[in-house]
């Protein structure tokens, strides 16, 4: 590349529920990972677009063939529409990032759930061919770790919608043995919460999007000083609904598997570093915003001698910012090797 060529580096977090981008031009964008195509000519006339992405797609979902292309951390198998949806989301994010950077080369580091990393890496490269000039794909927890400089004797627990990825950073690029993936994550909490509300209040009408919103706004584990009361329609009329117990039960359903997996991974760390790793457990992803979760996980570390579990400052952008940090640190020669 000649010295005159300008380069835009971007870090992208491709998530099951939300995707985010951070750029070397200091821009940040986040979109819900939904893509919708108008179902017919009438819908097309109403929405006035060929394809809608993110919140816009959700808002118009009754008119759209709506897709959330990642499921349990994987691009849904056998669905051309879902592959196209991934392409739309990534293209949309890069389009936002390059709107003021026309003609610049784009170098992207894309962080994906560990499952996608294992299964869909080639597919992602194909999807992004022609959209970016060079591409590095990394697992989401690694991107987070890189972004906060937590590469040595730390554990990242990235709680997404489809999967929760556990990754021990031990001063090397994480291998399979350094990582675990659970499907206990945001979606499984939503499913359980919806089920519990239906059982206790069969008359209440609600959608999965409402449930997700309630969880994201009020989710907690342990004791809560206040009742969680939301509004939902009953026979068309909005009524207050106490979901405190259901929400606690749903959110706490992840505590045991998280604790177990965390302890299991810790046991595989070299004995002399286990204490250090225990003191440096970091939660990221939107699921990390569940109140009290870090404290509950700390409780489970007590039986091992105690530890410290903390949240990253900005769970929504931690992965994208980490990807950007990788993009900026990678050598020219690295980028030449991974031309898209």
């Amino acid at each position: 590349m000649s010295a005159k060529e300008k380069v835009l580096s971007v870090g992208i977090d491709l998530g099951t529920s939300q995707s985010a981008i951070a750029t070397s031009a200091d821009a940040r964008y986040v979109v819900d990972s939904y893509v919708g195509w108008p179902v017919d000519m009438v819908a097309r006339k109403v929405v006035k677009k060929k394809v809608l992405i993110g919140a816009e797609a959700l808002d118009n979902r009754s008119l759209l063939d709506l897709h959330r292309p990642l499921e349990q951390g994987l691009i849904k198998e056998g669905s051309e529409k879902d592959v196209a949806a991934v392409k739309e989301i990534l293209g949309h994010l890069i389009g936002l990032a390059t709107q003021d950077a026309e003609g610049q080369k784009v170098r992207a580091v894309v962080g994906v759930p560990a499952e996608t990393m294992r299964v869909n890496k080639q597919q992602l490269r194909q999807i992004l061919k022609g959209t970016v000039d060079s591409l590095i794909i990394v697992s989401e927890p690694f991107a987070v770790a890189y972004g906060i400089d937590a590469l040595l004797h730390t554990m990242i627990i990235d709680i997404g919608a489809g999967t929760t990825d556990f990754c021990v950073m031990r001063g090397r690029y994480p291998t399979e043995e350094d990582q675990r993936t659970l499907t206990k994550a945001g979606d499984s909490i939503d499913d359980l919460l919806g089920k519990l509300i239906s059982e206790r209040h069969p008359e209440v009408q609600f959608s999965e999007h409402m449930v997700r919103g309630w969880k994201e706004k009020h989710g907690f584990v342990g004791e809560s000083k206040e009742k969680v009361v939301v509004k939902a329609p009953v026979h068309g009329k909005m009524q207050p609904l106490d979901i405190t117990d259901a929400l606690r039960t749903a959110c706490e359903s992840v505590v045991a598997p998280f604790s177990e997996t965390m302890i299991d991974l810790l046991a595989a760390v070299d004995p002399e570093y286990q204490e250090t790793v225990r003191q440096n457990v970091i939660l990221s992803g939107r699921g990390s915003k569940i109140r009290g979760l870090a404290a509950e996980l700390e409780k489970s570390l007590k039986e091992l001698g105690g530890g410290s579990v903390r949240m990253v400052e900005d769970p929504v952008f931690a992965g994208a910012v980490g990807g950007l940090a990788i993009a900026l640190d990678a050598d020219e020669s690295d980028w030449e090797k991974v031309a898209a």
Binding site: E115, D149, L151, L152, R172
Partner: protein, 335 residues
């Protein structure tokens, strides 16, 4: 980070950071070249290639030309033979008689079931499956090593290891065989007792479904992993090899243990989708060597001599299978 206390993670030096980043780039390059991570120097493909070649040569009675393209490190020292060494040294094809091919089993991974907080089954008097399986496994290792096998344990202590990690260890070691040792438990301990050996396959038997569900609990696998693994596995060559291994082991166990107690039932060779068998990439079995729910067998299991007898029977089964593979490889077996 949250402000409740100063957070000081260990800091990676710029040099280390650079090395980690290179790891990410290398991983992407592997994907670009279609090379699976960590599978660049596998041994098993060599073994099967050699089996196939030897078989073809034996059947045709013809001389065989063989080109080995794998790196030298792919061939373990025990597998090295002059003709292969010559090919590796010169890079030219070696004219090779079939009898030099190392088709026998060389590396065995022995997997003591359960461990750590996962106790397995246990009796009120304190016999615990995880301890029994480890003891038998150690004895089996001694037997196998004494006969020149390379042997590794998935755990050599009281550690909890997920099924995924057990299978991964065997895969990464390039094992030729995987033998998982368990002790059974039946609801009606008096009526149900005996030995059974499993290989990978589907099952409709409600007892087996319950048993696999219990044994698979600590898998460490996500739903997507399991789906992918199962979709591709039942028609695998390994299933036939595993069945042959299971038969050889079951035969020896029954013969040996019925000498002590004729009442020990031969519950046979069965197929079941134990995850530890699904995820291994070599012939693999799970042997339920006794039933702890039966008072007689529990009493016997508490005796060192009985556990040694089980280990020796397992060894003999592995030995018999290994010899049968070496001597009677047929086109069917290597298909």
């Amino acid at each position: 980070m949250s402000p409740r206390s100063p957070w000081r993670p260990p800091v990676a030096s710029p040099r280390l950071k650079r090395r980690i980043l290179s790891g990410a780039v290398d991983d992407n390059l592997r994907a670009l070249r279609n090379q699976p991570r960590g599978r660049l120097h596998r041994r098993r493909p060599v073994s099967w290639a050699l089996v196939a070649a030897a078989t073809a040569s034996a059947v045709a009675g013809a001389a065989l030309w063989l080109v080995l393209e794998l790196p030298e490190s792919a061939v373990p020292p025990l597998a090295r033979r002059p003709a292969i060494d010559a090919a590796l040294a010169t890079g030219t094809p070696a004219r090779t008689p079939p009898q030099v091919f190392p088709v026998a089993v060389r590396k065995v991974v022995v997997d003591p079931g359960h461990g750590g907080g996962d106790l397995g089954t246990r009796t009120p008097l304190g016999l615990v499956e995880k301890e029994l399986t480890l003891d038998i496994a150690r004895r089996l290792v001694a037997q196998l090593r004494g006969d020149g096998f390379e042997v590794e344990l998935t755990r050599d202590g009281d550690r909890r290891i997920s099924l995924r990690d057990r299978a991964r260890a065997a895969n990464e070691l390039g094992a030729d065989l995987f033998v998982s040792i368990h002790v059974n438990w039946f609801e009606d301990g008096r009526a149900n007792r005996g030995i059974e050996t499993y290989f990978l396959g589907p099952s409709d038997d409600p007892f087996i479904v319950r048993l696999t569900s219990a044994e698979n609990r600590e898998s460490g696998y996500a739903i997507a992993d399991v789906r992918r693994l199962l979709d591709s596995i039942y028609a695998d060559l390994r299933q036939e090899q595993s069945r042959a291994l299971a038969r050889a082991v079951q035969r020896q166990l029954v013969r040996s243990l019925q000498e002590v107690t004729p009442e020990v039932a031969d519950r046979g060779v069965k197929s079941a989708p134990f995850l530890v068998l699904v995820a291994t990439e070599m012939p693999a079995i799970l042997a339920e060597v006794a039933s702890l729910s039966n008072a007689d067998e529990a009493r016997l299991l508490a005796q060192e001599g009985y556990r040694e007898r089980i280990a020796v029977a397992l060894y003999r089964g592995i030995r018999a299978y290994s010899e049968s593979v070496a001597q009677t490889a047929t086109p069917t077996e290597v298909r």
